[in-house]
Symmetry: C2
Subunit: 372 residues, 2 copies
Amino acid sequence: MSAVKTAALPNPFALWRGGSLPDAVIAYETWGTLNADRSNAILLFTGLSPTAHAASSPENRDPGWWEQMIGSGRAIDTDQYFVVCVNSLGSCFGSTGPASINPGTGKAWRLDFPEIAVEDLARSGWEVMASLGVEQLSAVVGPSLGGMVVVAFAACMPGKARRLISISGSAAASPFAIALRSVQREAVMSDPDWRGGQYPSNAQGPRAGMRIARKLGTITYRSADEWRNRFARAPLGEQGLRAVQKAQVKLPEGFGPRFAVEGYLEAQAERFVRIFDPNCYLYLSRAMDCFELSSHGEPSEVLRRAGLTSALVIGVESDFLFSIDEQAWIAGQLDKAGVQTEFAHLPCIEGHDAFLVDLPRFDAAIRRFLNA
Amino acid sequence: MSAVKTAALPNPFALWRGGSLPDAVIAYETWGTLNADRSNAILLFTGLSPTAHAASSPENRDPGWWEQMIGSGRAIDTDQYFVVCVNSLGSCFGSTGPASINPGTGKAWRLDFPEIAVEDLARSGWEVMASLGVEQLSAVVGPSLGGMVVVAFAACMPGKARRLISISGSAAASPFAIALRSVQREAVMSDPDWRGGQYPSNAQGPRAGMRIARKLGTITYRSADEWRNRFARAPLGEQGLRAVQKAQVKLPEGFGPRFAVEGYLEAQAERFVRIFDPNCYLYLSRAMDCFELSSHGEPSEVLRRAGLTSALVIGVESDFLFSIDEQAWIAGQLDKAGVQTEFAHLPCIEGHDAFLVDLPRFDAAIRRFLNA
């Protein structure tokens, strides 16, 4: 059973970098109840690849990607808040994206899909809330790409959120992160099965390229220290061996996986390749590169106009994709903007993905902030 | 004019992990003069990709990969030392490797080449020195892969070096570095033009895969901080645009290079693809994963048996491929082994490649050590 609902965007939906989308929709899930004065809504944006299924619900009992963070008595307490998680515009889990049907042609958009910006993700998320009768959010929250979207939300939707939680996000992609994503995209586009974006289906698409992109992604989402503790130099175990055997792309034995860490990459890659649309991946990846808060004006002035009362910025010391310095910069600009800002500087060793793994630290920081 | 000489290895040359090579040779270059008592020889191992051309000479006036470090009055002073740089066994610049002709078949070895180990690189380098009449090295030196080879040299060639300089090397590849190299190899092997190793020539080989491997390599050789200073979010400049236009693999405009940092990756990748043999790359890459000093015994005991009088270990704080902790560990084991050890902990921001860029710091450390 699905908990996914769909909201229609204003038609056409004008895009930040030009062009517009006809008949666009955003998929979302909700938890908790909107209160009488509609003041208890929290809007949650996701990272690059998740669906809107952030937590289980009576309609879908499968654990969500932030299961331990959202629910009755959890840090994001559904007894108190009406929580909405959106699948990003441009993604492939119910929201309009390059894999959706272009109503003008009756065929999938693919590379005819217009360029999307992080700003479009922010505004389309807001439109879901407006469709639900919300006039102002209690808080807008997001990790990773979602952390960027939250910053874009502050810039594009002044007055629409009282509080903001940006987790391991960025106000402007660093050249290091751009370089990594550039290599990931090239891996997808260099795969002959990408066919200039015209692959017949995911199963017949650029699987080899998507595997490489996701393996590299997985490396950048974790940290050398975590892996030293977790895998050390252990050989490929039974689980890893099974992942390698099930893999859709076979590598010659001498150069294929031998170490446990390689089996882990294998499992991550295969899972991703089965579910994520390659063109959607390219569009969202490029959108991340191009986001730049300062394109909206002097950053602290832009953030002052956002009308926030308070903000929480969470950064992780071992995150080398969205560095702790970038988080400190966002917190500094919010502070300069006169927003009461807390900067949680977490010593987790799990890198960028710590928000999915080191839940006690994130729970404590978010719970304290939302209850303040 | 070439300065490259060739030394024959003992025939057959037995390999560390089993098997042997018939008629194998090592290419090398030399600078300075071996003194009467043959006591002033320095053996230099390279990183993964360079040739033996570490510095210019009357026979080849092109600048070498460590031009500013080797020469008359330089840190490695050729007025004082007889310096020999070897092209690694398994590479493709004159030394025997997978691209060489297998004398048994008259055809290139390709994947029939036996597995090589970092230990084989160490021993084959020593054989060059023995062929030149050297009985003991004044110093064995190497950066990156060369830094690993130097550690292997200490383990495999006891009594053959009085001093050791290991720069940004490793005594055992970390799971993080293994993961990165695993993805690089997969990019090469997933390229249909690799043809299971049977590509007709580099120009008709897995260029797309090699580009990805080298771009990722380039990212891991530098640092986020350096690139923030150097490229920030500048758009692709004229030089970058030229690199993109000259590229052998064309990417669709919307998702191709837009930022200066992407133009830099492009230039690095194209240069590498033209010169480096893909199978050689795979063999050397895998050899790095598999090296483990402790497979030779308790590390400090192994290093004690090496008979070194002194050692210099150089690490770079911003190196995230061969971390400063790994360098500290090597220095610690040498110290425990009773070797007079200096650990130079350099604050360079250029990451793993700092030894090629931040020359004043490396010059000072190496000069002081060699003159002590």
